[in-house]
């Protein structure tokens, strides 16, 4: 790695460090709650390496752990992670000239935070000198933090008594992420409709109420753009 690339890498790491402080507790919570959820612990732990997307990992544990169907867990994870299509499109705009193998490695560590940090620093394809080094400084620090904190959570989870009701941490994390995700009036309506439909349909088999809530919320957001946006 050249001197220049190393400096850019460190810059990416530095710009991401405040975010790491927010990611660390989420990683711990995922590890602790997943270890207590009754699902295959090794598979849940390995999801940090294989899926590497916190909200979807937590959703899989929640759905399988409460007796939902595998297909519901898989579809929910796909729907949650579909936002990466947006980040992928924007990263593709910035990196058309890079080798495909490098872009594949960039894709594996693509997260909300890594994308937002990199897209803030590099705004157009004419200005991408140093983008890979900077991006990997950001993305790999997030990846490493996630692996260490989720593993630590799994190890700690075995020592935490059930009376602490830590399973409540799962919906609390979703609630916190929900609060951060509402950025417009149609977005708020998507949340209200999605939550209401999911509550009304909570007794559908295979946790289909979740898919019904998600689908109706997305449609509500789209349809209401004309009036609310």
């Amino acid at each position: 790695m050249s001197e220049q690339a190393r400096a850019t890498w460190q810059e990416g790491l530095r710009d991401t460090s405040p975010i790491l402080l927010g990611v660390a507790p989420f990683g711990l919570i995922f590890g602790v709650t997943a270890s207590a959820s009754g699902v295959d612990q090794f598979a849940a732990w390995a999801s940090s390496l294989i899926v590497f997307a916190g909200a979807s990992q937590l959703a899989i544990v929640e759905i399988i752990g409460t007796g939902g169907a595998a297909i519901t867990a898989l579809l929910t994870a796909i729907v949650i992670n579909s936002r990466h299509l947006m980040y992928s499109a924007d990263m593709g705009r910035l990196t058309p000239a890079l080798p495909l193998g490098l872009r594949a490695r960039m894709a594996y560590v693509l997260t909300d935070q890594a994308y937002l940090v990199a897209a803030t620093r590099f705004d157009g394809p004419e200005n991408v000198e140093g983008l890979p080094s900077y991006y990997f400084g950001a993305a790999l620090s997030l990846w490493t933090t996630w692996q260490i904190t989720t593993t630590t959570g799994f190890l700690l989870g075995n020592f935490i008594p059930a009376s602490w009701r830590l399973e409540f941490a799962i919906p609390m994390v979703f609630l916190a992420l929900l609060v951060f995700s509402i950025k417009s009036k149609p977005g708020l309506l998507a949340a209200v409709v999605g939550g209401t439909v999911a509550v009304l349909a909570v007794n559908l088999d295979y946790q289909l109420g979740l898919m019904a809530g998600a689908a109706s919320g997305i449609v509500a957001g789209l349809v209401s753009e004309r009036w609310l946006a």
Binding site: I78, S88, M172, V173, L175, G194, A198
Partner: protein
Amino acid sequence: MTMWIVVILAGIATFSMRFVFIALFGVIAVPPLLERALRYVAPAVLAALAIPAIVSPDKVLDPINPFVPAAVIGGLAAWYTKSIGAAIVVGLPVLWLVLWLT
């Protein structure tokens, strides 16, 4: 075994969604309707995950159970501090307090 299958398939699907437009930029574009719909994925799915777990913990609508005050106060803490950790650190003690009082 179910858990392994779900994790591996979710991993393949997630990597594919992360890679597809990075790999094919200029070959295929994101359809405009999909781009608009993606904006509402996070609020809709997260609400559908969080709200039933809080207001119907036993699959029956129960809007005055102990999880509700804990979630309201924890949610406000998350909103105010912009931190996931705050939702837990504030929400869990509220839950313990309500469980202890009732």
